[in-house]
């Protein structure tokens, strides 16, 4: 069950006409996932399940280390493993990425959501789902550029990482960051995380990863979950992390021009009809018509 945390300030609600404010930079939080430090131990996955009391049935092995095989309503974060043969450097790389909600500054899920207040954004940047208002339509799934939300078959609600908004509201970091044994996951102000990332990128460059960098994609105005990547020039190497994520133009069109043009068209059609009625008056059958019909029925020439 996800809910709106009353201890955090809301800046955006889904399906409401409130103006869209910019997040105040000072209050923003971020989780930095340093892939160069991640050993794929899944402690974050387990911590997430423990804190959020999520228990799915164990699945089968399907020939990979990714378990469960995909995100689902009871798995909000998942380690994704990719074997990459770096031919330029003549070495194998095992790229392990913790997948989960990126908490976009410009959240596609929130944009797509038709249920007022089912998706909210707090002033600290966390994007949260609210089960009370969620109608399970799955529009958030279509809105998300990262393929994160999942709809529960049990209660028809959408679920995803909350960035432990409940813990953050109490001044704690997310459960995954707390559990991470190698400090691959750190949590703090977005500014501090960007600084830490710069330090890590410098270290990686010194180790020969010339294209190391921070993943904080501008297409969604940045995210509140960021990655340090050895190959920042090829995010898609990391189990299909989008190279340049943005809210799909189709979704933008749907939630933008279509929404307004559609209402306009419907309204216009009704107005034209009404206008016509007043201008032209009703189209009535006259007695003459009835007579003609009677004559026709009786076989007389008309």
């Amino acid at each position: 069950m996800s809910y709106i945390n009353p201890k955090l300030d809301l800046v955006r609600r889904s399906a409401s006409s409130d103006p869209e404010p910019a997040l105040a930079p000072g209050d923003q939080v971020a989780k930095l996932i340093d892939i160069s430090k991640c050993i794929g131990c899944k402690a974050c996955q387990v911590a997430c399940m423990e804190w959020n009391e999520l228990r799915q049935e164990p699945e089968e092995n399907v020939g990979v280390y990714d378990n469960p095989a995909d995100l689902n309503p009871d798995t909000w974060t998942l380690m994704r493993f990719t074997e990459y043969e770096n031919t330029a450097e003549d070495r194998l790389e095992w790229l392990i990425r913790k997948d989960g909600c990126m908490h976009c500054t410009d959240p596609g899920c929130l944009k797509a959501c038709p249920a007022p207040g089912a998706i909210v954004q707090y002033s600290n940047g966390i994007v949260d789902f609210n089960s009370e208002a969620c109608i399970g339509c799955g529009y958030c799934v279509k809105g998300c550029p990262f393929n994160i939300p999942r709809i529960s078959k049990a209660d028809n609600k959408a679920y995803k990482c909350t960035l432990c908004s409940d813990r953050v509201a109490e001044g704690m970091g997310p459960a995954c960051a707390k559990a991470c044994p190698t400090k691959a996951i750190t949590f703090g102000s977005k500014a501090d995380m960007v600084t830490l990332a710069a330090e890590r990128v410098e270290d990686l460059k010194e180790r020969g990863y010339a294209r190391a960098g921070l993943y904080d994609p501008p297409g969604v105005n940045g995210t509140h979950v960021m990655y340090v990547l050895h190959h920042a020039d090829q995010p898609s190497l990391y189990a299909g992390l989008p190279d340049n994520p943005r809210i799909s133009p189709i979704v933008e069109t749907w939630k933008g021009v279509t929404k307004y043009a559609g209402l306009l068209a419907i309204g216009a059609a009704a107005a034209v009809g009404l206008g016509h009625y007043f201008m032209a008056g009703p189209n009535e059958v006259s007695d003459h018509d009835e007579d003609a019909a009677r004559k026709l029925k009786e076989g007389r020439d008309v």
């Binding site: 529009y139 799934v141 393929n147 749907w254 016509h276 018509d289 009677r294 026709l296």
Partner: protein
């Protein structure tokens, strides 16, 4: 003053078919509009909230699709395009002004009605297909029985197509309903199944001739 003659226009089955379709369409429009724009979200109240509106919408859609299929097979021959339809269309000004004397004699349906029919036929197919893509609950069944699955990109296209098609369908529906209201005596066709002879004489004279010709013992009506 004068006694009205009456002509049967729709059988009871046809009317029932129509009204099932009509009610489904209205419910779909309302529930759909509720999820289409935040300012219309209150409409979901009619269904007991957004979750119900979301849950019922595809099922109603399924009813509509089946129901409309009935209408389609019932009426598609009568809606085939004819030469006179072009004339009717070219004299739209007279149509709107109600000067039907300027128009050729019309069979059971005029070009406007035919266009509504064909628009709806196409739109409902589009809405049904795009709707299935959006109907998550059906996906397990589709995957198991038809081997169908959809990517998120496909569902994004589907949702846009669904919205645009729905808007057009609502506009067509408005035209359809308005025509029925504007042209007095029309509603009777779908309520009581019959229209007055005068209505037939005025709006669908060729159809009236055919109807009367069928039962008449005398000479067939002159063309």
């Amino acid at each position: 003053m004068s006694d009205k003659t009456y002509v049967k226009r729709y059988s009871a089955l046809a009317r029932a078919n129509h009204w099932v379709t009509a009610i489904s369409l209205v419910l779909l429009a309302i529930s759909g509009m509720a999820l289409f724009h935040p300012s219309l979200y209150f409409l979901s109240g009619l269904f007991g909230g957004g979750a119900n509106a979301r849950e019922f919408h595809p099922w109603i859609g399924l009813v509509l699709a089946i129901s409309f299929l009935g209408l389609f097979f019932r009426f598609w021959r009568l809606n085939l395009w004819e030469r006179t339809d072009n004339v009717w269309l070219s004299r739209l000004r007279s149509v709107l002004a109600g000067r039907e004397e300027d128009l050729p004699e019309i069979g059971k349906y005029n070009a406007g009605q035919k266009m509504v029919f064909w628009f709806m036929s196409i739109l409902i197919v589009v809405l049904f297909l795009s709707g299935v893509v959006l109907w998550d609950d059906s996906h397990e069944w589709l995957a198991a029985n038809l081997g169908l699955s959809f990517t998120i990109e496909q569902s994004r296209i589907a949702v846009l197509v669904h919205a645009i098609a729905a808007v057009i369908a609502i506009v067509v529906w408005i035209v359809h309903v308005y025509a029925a209201i504007w042209v007095k005596g029309t509603l009777s066709a779908m309520i009581r199944g019959k229209v007055t002879g005068g209505w037939g004489w005025r709006h669908h004279r060729r159809w009236l001739r055919e109807e009367f010709g069928k039962g008449a013992k005398g000479t067939p009506p002159a063309e």
